[in-house]
């Protein structure tokens, strides 16, 4: 009697365990399937795509779509592939991330260790700026970029991303330095260390993790941006996301799905790599950007 009860308990526990793993695997397939289909499609010829099954592996592997996407596909009026737009994105992301991170670190330092009356208001103003819908700034920004003569240019996008990235980088560093012991800072002040000396020798050496989190967060967001790129740099100076959208949604000619998928993977590759290499920091950035204060 007790034996069968126990056996029932064990087999029901095993049943739930199997059901649990099955469900988890089904969802893993749901998340992976689009990526799998993108990959297989990008290695097939157009003829095979038309005849065959989207879910099947390529019968004849070809890297031609990748070469097309990189060097020959038509984006807008020019047919030189997406490589120049890829470099546009890099030229936009690197300076924007560097400037925004440096400013954010200094701001966070001032807002926690050199407080002045009204520091909370300054922070609140910057914090709210993080969450505005960017549609609200498109009209005046296009005017300002036009006046400065950097509309349609990577330099313009660097300015835009810096202006709207500072709030987040300041938030990240402020929350991190908040937990940094103020006694160390005070002791250094008594020893006669100056503003930058303290930052350089005391805070910066222990800022590694938050710098990584901030850089990854900014890199991902700026690389993936579409709205600003489409609004202010639609032509030769367009970033990768805009070029990808132009390539995929151009209404002329035959739809080369394999080339589209190769281009989409190229556009996704930098942020995917960062995610795979430094996923832990990526998640921490996401959390810090959503659970504020």
């Amino acid at each position: 009697m007790t034996d069968t009860l126990q056996a029932n308990g064990v087999s029901s526990a095993r049943f739930w365990r199997v059901a649990l793993y099955t469900t988890l695997i089904v969802f893993a397939v749901f998340y992976l399937l689009p990526l799998y289909v993108m990959l297989t499609t990008s290695f097939k010829s157009l003829a095979e795509i038309r005849q065959g099954n989207m879910l099947a592996l390529p019968a004849d592997w070809t890297i031609e779509p990748w070469l097309q996407a990189w060097g020959k596909a038509c984006v807008g009026l020019t047919c030189e592939g997406i490589n120049s737009y890829f470099w546009n994105s890099i030229k936009m992301v690197v300076p924007a991330v560097v400037i925004t991170t440096v400013l954010g670190a200094l701001n966070g330092y001032v807002l926690t260790k050199w407080r002045f009356t009204g520091h909370k208001w300054v922070f609140a103003l910057m914090l709210f700026g993080c969450f505005i819908p960017f549609q609200i700034v498109l009209i005046p920004m296009s005017q300002v970029l036009g006046k400065l003569g950097i509309a349609g240019d990577t330099a313009g996008l660097v300015l835009v991303h810096t202006a709207y990235g500072i709030g987040f980088s300041t938030l990240f560093f402020r929350n991190y330095y908040e937990a940094f012991p103020s006694e160390l800072v005070k002791a250094a002040m008594i020893d006669g260390a100056g503003f930058f000396g303290i930052f350089w020798r005391i805070l910066l050496p222990s800022s590694g993790p938050i710098i990584v989190v901030t850089v990854i967060w900014l890199f991902t967001n700026i690389w993936n941006d579409f709205l600003f790129g489409a609004s202010f740099a639609a032509g030769e100076g367009a970033p990768m996301t805009v070029a990808l959208n132009n390539l995929v949604n151009s209404s002329t000619g035959v739809k080369e799905y394999n080339v589209h998928m190769a281009a989409a993977i190229i556009a996704a590759l930098p942020t995917l790599l960062v995610y795979i290499v430094a996923g832990r920091y990526f998640v921490r950035g996401l959390m810090a950007g959503s659970v504020k204060g």
């Binding site: 689009p34 549609q135 995929v248």
Partner: protein, 299 residues
């Protein structure tokens, strides 16, 4: 060394922190608040293709906006998309987090798999799903090849159903992130309480329903705010997946704002729609930020 030089040095030293902060503050005031005011003013002028500052017409554009059929469609779509997006992402995220919290051997791998779409651009996501759901060559054809001849899936080109494809792609991209938020919340719960409940004979289901889920209220709130914020702003995904179509079937406030401002030469109306978007987001974000920052200060 004169006294004057030393005085300047002291002044600099004293004001240095604020001087370092000031460029960022100036940028924020100009690019955020100045631009909001400018857009608010444009929304009260008769601006067409370019800003026209002299032609003030009060709130006429807002009246016009609410009478525009495209705007009504955009709001209806935002309501459908937003509520489904928030509810499905929230439930799926919680569900996956609870499953992953059962001492799963491959947790690290599964977590990475569920979350990776969050690293992609919405343009990439839109491109991928547009191909996956392609009515001629995508999922439909694959199902036919597998022997399910009657399978039909034409939502992308069906005006009644297209908005739901945006929901599917949006959920695919963001639900993993919600899962990560809930998982972090679950890991923060005191395990003693759970042991006590289990000793009292509560089943796993009861423990979750009565003890664990009520303790996650802060995560529910954060997830809601993040999802609502992303939903209202969603522009890229719609552009890449459906382009707002077929017809205007997937028009959203963000695509409405863009097309009225930059391609339909109705900048005043476009600016008015941007103001409405800002006010909607502010109504969600401001109380949340206020509560979050206050909580922190009381600690």
């Amino acid at each position: 060394m004169s006294n004057k030089n030393r005085a300047i040095g002291d002044w600099l030293r004293h004001h240095l922190p604020r001087l370092v902060l000031s460029p960022s503050v100036a940028m924020t005031i100009f690019f955020v608040y100045g631009f909001i005011l400018y857009t608010a003013y444009i929304s009260m002028t008769k601006s067409k293709m370019l800003p026209n500052l002299s032609n003030f017409i009060g709130l006429d554009n807002y009246g016009k906006l609410w009478k525009t059929l495209n705007w009504q469609v955009a709001l209806d779509n935002l309501f459908i998309f937003g509520s489904l997006y928030i509810i499905i992402c929230g439930l799926l995220g919680l569900f996956l987090a609870i499953l992953l919290d059962q001492k799963i051997r491959t947790e690290g791998f599964l977590r990475t798999t569920y979350l990776y779409p969050m690293a992609l651009s919405f343009i990439v996501t839109g491109t991928a799903w547009k191909w996956f759901l392609n009515p001629g060559l995508g999922l439909e054809k694959s199902m036919h090849a597998l022997g399910w001849e009657s399978f039909k899936f034409d939502w992308l080109i069906n005006p009644e159903m297209a908005i739901y494809t945006v929901v599917i792609a949006g959920v695919w991209q963001t639900s993993g992130f919600v899962m990560a938020m809930f998982l972090a919340g679950l890991r923060g719960i005191d395990s003693e309480q759970l042991k006590a409940a289990q000793l009292d004979g509560a089943s796993t289901l009861q423990t979750y329903w009565r003890i664990i889920i009520p303790q996650l209220h802060a995560v529910f709130l954060s997830a809601f705010v993040v999802l609502a914020h992303m939903g209202i702003k969603s522009y890229d995904l719609v552009v890449a997946l459906t382009g707002g179509g077929p017809g205007r079937a997937t028009e959203m406030p963000a695509t409405f704002m863009y097309s009225y401002t930059f391609t339909r030469n109705q900048m005043g109306v476009g600016a008015a729609s941007a103001i409405i978007m800002l006010m909607t987001i502010a109504a969600i974000i401001v109380p949340y930020l206020y509560a979050e920052t206050r909580e922190k200060n009381n600690d």
